[in-house]
Amino acid sequence: MLRFARESLAIASAEMHKLVRDPTEMFSRAIQPVLWLAIFGQVFSRVRGIPTGNLNYLDYMAPGILAQSILFSAIFYGIAVIWERDLGIVHKLLVTPAHRSALIGGKALAAGLRGLVQAIVVYGVAVILKVNIRWEFLPILTAAAGVFIGSGVFSTFSLLIASIVKTRERFMGIGQVLTMPLFFASNAIYPLELMPDWLKSIAIFNPLTYLVDVLRGSMIVGGVSTFPVITSFGVMGLVFLILLALASKIYPGLAR
């Protein structure tokens, strides 16, 4: 257990060094949610086309966009792993006696920390756009925990897909095909109740739905969660463990 922790931290701290040295990638990905909030959000809050209870649409949407930015930037982890494979870095890691799960867990940990930085950016943009942020300790902590574990889920998912498809071209294709449906089959920009039944039954199995639900209850004034917070964290935790187990099996195949 101690060794597992040490190994994961070794991977995560290497990732952090890279992030600090070259944060442009991360910030350029943070631009996307800005556009969504500033344009899509502004327009739709005028139209009032989507019933969001007593929340204005921009407030309603902000947690969804934070979750979206976590989802979309997870693609980065798959690309990075394919890059590391093309070079030979994956091979170097895999010949060490380190736990395979720690090699993946370390990346997830780094993704979690990166997600927190992104969350700060999105909160900042939300403040500028006058979103009604809930500035209380416990809700902020809950949102941070959600962002952290959600980042772990989606980065590990991305790494798993990359381990299966192995090449950049195939990954870019599949990445688009998977992320857009994950986004739209969730409660990120419209409520579950508004969905047709078939879509709703997909959304229930989508981890993004639970991330959004946690954030909606914790990020904005007047926001309410549909599910108990415990349920949402339970679902995300379980999904993470399953993905971690799968990826630990499949990732070593990258060195073949």
Binding site: R3, R6, E7, L9, A10, I11, S13, A14, H17, K18, R21, D22, E84, D86, L87, G88, I89, H91, K92, L93, L94, V95, T96, P97, A98, P252, A255, R256
Partner: protein, 270 residues
């Protein structure tokens, strides 16, 4: 302790690997004695990298077995990993990290920590001659510096056996010599068994105590450079040995996959 395997760091028995239609490795049986630098030669596509990947636990053999430092690669991969180092043909140092960060990462994955880690990392820095640039990102290094760093990374845990796949491909003559010096140093000071793949005859002459020539997945011949030369007559060079036993000239081109691998190996060092 009269184990007859004691003197052999690497033993393979009928090692075979099929990829779909291709037989990359065909019943390879080899013994490499401890403390030697052993050269695995062969034209492109002969199965050198495949052999190394099986011996380093990265790839499963289709049949046959292999033992490294007394442990079976298929049955005890973790024990094997503790005892080996591997420098892949491609780029394994992370260009976005500094030498120190690269070394710290490897050291921690090899289970080193605390004071011991610090000692090993600083030892590795002076071994690779990178003290003065230790805090610069590796992407600013020359090809030779990167190779030396990679060797240092792969030997932080004092492995019994070190594998290097085409360690000097794409390096200029001076850089190649500095890499050779490091490998000889490891043989001398730590008695590390070293297996390198190469198709560079000068490298074989300078480094290898023994060699094996692979041809399309099969072992063509094995012996010391001197023995093999004398089998072809007094005037024979290693080039002649290679041509004779592999039935091919050195520059046989190989397929797209290999050309791509070699090119990217060279390109990355520019």
């Amino acid at each position: 302790m009269a184990d007859p395997n004691d003197n052999n760091a690497i033993i393979t028995v009928d090692l075979t690997k099929h990829f779909d239609q291709v037989t990359a490795l065909d019943r390879l049986s080899l013994k490499v004695r401890s403390g030697l630098i052993f050269g695995l030669l062969g034209p492109n596509g002969a199965g050198k990298s495949t052999t190394i990947k099986i011996l380093t636990t990265l790839l499963d053999a289709s049949s046959g077995s292999a033992t490294i430092a007394g442990f079976d690669v298929a049955k005890s991969p973790i024990e094997v990993r503790r005892r080996i180092g591997y420098v892949p043909q491609l780029l394994s140092a992370d260009g976005a990290l500094t030498a120190i960060e690269n070394l710290n990462l490897s050291a921690r994955l090899y289970g080193l920590h605390g004071g011991e880690l610090k000692v090993r990392v600083s030892e590795a820095l002076s071994f690779s001659g990178l003290d003065t640039v230790a805090n610069k990102p590796v992407k600013t290094y020359s090809g030779g510096m990167i190779r030396r760093l990679e060797i240092a990374q792969a030997t932080l845990h004092y492995p019994e056996v070190l594998f290097l796949d085409e360690p000097t491909i794409g390096l200029d003559p001076v850089a190649r010599k500095t890499v050779w010096e490091r490998l000889k140093d490891l043989r001398r000071s730590r008695r590390t068994t070293i297996l390198i793949t190469t198709h560079d005859m000068e490298e074989v002459d300078v480094l290898c105590d023994e060699l094996a020539i692979l041809d399309r997945g099969r072992l063509a011949v094995t012996g010391s450079p001197g023995e093999l030369k004398s089998r072809l007559g007094a005037q024979a060079s290693l080039d002649d040995v290679f041509v004779h036993f592999s039935g091919s000239v050195m520059e046989r081109e190989g397929n797209y996959r290999q050309i791509r691998e070699n090119r990217s190996a060279i390109h990355r060092l520019e």
